[in-house]
């Protein structure tokens, strides 16, 4: 639950626009710096790893509404610049299949990219500290830490949007103010049909505490799960192809599953 599954038209307009601006700038920079050398090799690699993230996201752990993201693993494999691009691509595809709003692609990209960058930095730092001897455990710890930090970032964003909603700056259009008004603070979502005596039903404010409790409770199960999975995969990969995890290309190119020799 480290990316926002909040519908379109709920978060404050300024937050949505600002996040799009930051995301597009980051993607532009990443496209520039990431695409300076060996683009022909990077395009298919990016496509494959972003697709792998999507494949992992397509299977949910139903009771806690959590799906595996493989963000930290992908961050480790792609490095910082390509991670930003992969986060953007994954969110565009997810939004187009109804998994997350289109207007929150910017915010979701920032969330997932932070997860990948943090995971990459933590893994690289800790792995070097342990001299590459505990790569699997290090990957697990890096994943849990990265997810915990980005979940806190998520709660911060929701808190920011909640207070903004009080300031009548939310996503739904308020014709009386002539701008996008407060969906969660009453007034815009009014009801004179069910309560004829009051044209505006006073609505409760967003409870950040309740949201945080929910996210940390359900999310922590997901962090541990994702930590174990990432640790197991990194352990497996560092045994069979250590170069992939340590940032070196494999020296021997293997025979493909269809029997195509390289």
């Amino acid at each position: 639950m480290t990316h926002l599954h909040i519908p379109d038209g709920v978060l404050p307009l300024w937050l949505v626009l600002a996040s799009w601006l930051v995301t597009l700038s980051a993607v532009g920079l990443a496209g520039h710096f990431g695409g300076r050398r060996d683009v022909r090799r990077k395009v298919p690699l990016l496509g494959a790893i972003a697709a792998l993230m999507l494949v992992s996201m397509s299977s949910e752990v139903v009771p806690i509404a959590y799906h595996v993201n493989l963000t930290v693993l992908s961050g480790v494999l792609l490095g910082p610049w390509l991670s930003i691009i992969a986060a953007f691509i994954v969110n565009v595809v997810l939004a187009l299949v109804g998994h997350g709003g289109v207007t929150v692609i910017g915010l979701n990209t920032l969330m997932i990219a932070s997860e990948m960058l943090l995971g990459w930095a933590l893994f690289k730092g800790l792995d070097a500290l342990f001299r590459h001897r505990r790569s699997a455990a290090v990957a697990g710890v890096a994943t849990v830490l990265a997810l915990a930090i980005t979940t806190t970032l998520l709660v911060g964003i929701v808190a920011l949007s909640g207070s903004a909603a009080t300031g009548r700056e939310s996503g739904a259009f308020d014709p009386r103010a002539g701008r996008f008004g407060a969906l969660l603070s009453g007034g815009v979502v009014g009801n004179s049909l069910l309560n004829p005596e009051t044209a505006e039903e006073p609505l409760p404010q967003l409870s950040v505490r309740r949201f945080a409790t929910m996210v940390y409770t359900l999310g922590s199960i997901g962090w541990v799960l994702e930590g174990f999975i990432t640790a197991a995969i990194i352990g497996f990969v560092s045994r069979v192809r250590p170069g992939m995890v340590r940032g070196r290309r494999p020296e021997v190119r293997l025979v493909g599953d269809e029997g195509v020799s390289h």
Partner: protein, 265 residues
């Protein structure tokens, strides 16, 4: 989240909406989505959702997959509504916004092959990003199929029968790891192919010619009508009034009529 059905429908479908020019569908999608964003009237949002459902039924799109995917974001909207201590109407608005926006996107994706949806984006994005976007969607289906095969093989090799959570999780993780190695090898193979074909930092997607100009105009007009209805209703009656049932009733009538016609034909 069964995304593979999206591509099957978009590629093999032959409905009237499949034949509409992708750019017209993209414009209609943006307009309908803007209507959903602008509206906060629960009954108007319900009307848009019902109207889109009528389109899905009329175009004979795979109902279980479309509505299954569209319902998925409602779960998270419900969690958000719960966290927001929202009343029943606000909760319904949040959930309907999520479902309707998803239905809008899914109607586009189920009727348009992905290169045509991503082509306009690819033209404005840096080449590395735009090309990788196209490559991602192509790779997704290959990897999904690979993961399913490897998972089945891992389960058979581990002798898994019925529910054995720990051993199943181990087999699933091994399958994911193997799929990741396959993804790496696949990217190397694609690199070889791209080198042979003389890739020069930009994949070219040619858009199809328009089949029927009037169908394109009609599609854009339908998107515009949804947007205009949402905005006009928001301006005229921002709160639920006694006439608010009209758009929802009209959309319900449309849906019922479409279902009857489909049953009879």
């Amino acid at each position: 989240m069964d995304i593979s059905s999206v591509d099957t429908s978009a590629t093999l479908g032959s409905s009237a909406l499949h034949r509409v020019h992708p750019v017209a569908k993209l414009i209609a999608f943006v307009l309908a989505l803007a209507g959903v964003v602008a509206s906060s009237n629960v009954l108007v949002l319900a009307a848009v959702a019902l109207a889109l459902a009528a389109v899905v039924v009329a175009m004979r799109l795979p109902l279980r997959q479309v509505f299954g995917l569209a319902a998925y974001p409602a779960l998270f909207a419900a969690l958000f509504a719960f966290a927001a201590s929202a009343g029943p109407i606000t909760a319904a608005v949040l959930m309907l916004k999520a479902v309707t926006a998803a239905l809008t996107a899914l109607t586009l994706m189920f009727t348009t092959p992905y290169p045509y949806v991503f082509a306009p984006l690819q033209r404005v994005l840096p080449s590395l990003v735009g090309d990788a976007l196209l490559m991602t969607y192509r790779s997704f289906f290959l990897l999904l199929e690979k993961l399913q095969r490897v998972t089945r093989a891992a389960r058979l090799r581990a002798g898994l029968v019925g529910r054995q959570p720990i051993r199943s999780a181990r087999a699933a993780t091994l399958a994911l790891g193997t799929t990741m190695l396959y993804a790496f090898d696949m990217s190397e193979r694609t690199y070889d192919v791209m080198t042979l074909r003389g890739y020069e930092q930009r994949l070219h997607v040619s858009m199809p010619a328009s089949v029927s100009r009037s169908a394109d105009v009609l599609t854009v007009a339908a998107g515009g009508a949804l947007f205009a209805t949402c905005l006009a209703w928001q301006l005229a009656a921002p709160v639920l009034v006694s006439l608010a049932w009209i758009p929802a009733a009209a959309a319900t009538g449309l849906l019922v009529a479409v279902i009857i016609v489909r049953r009879l034909s």
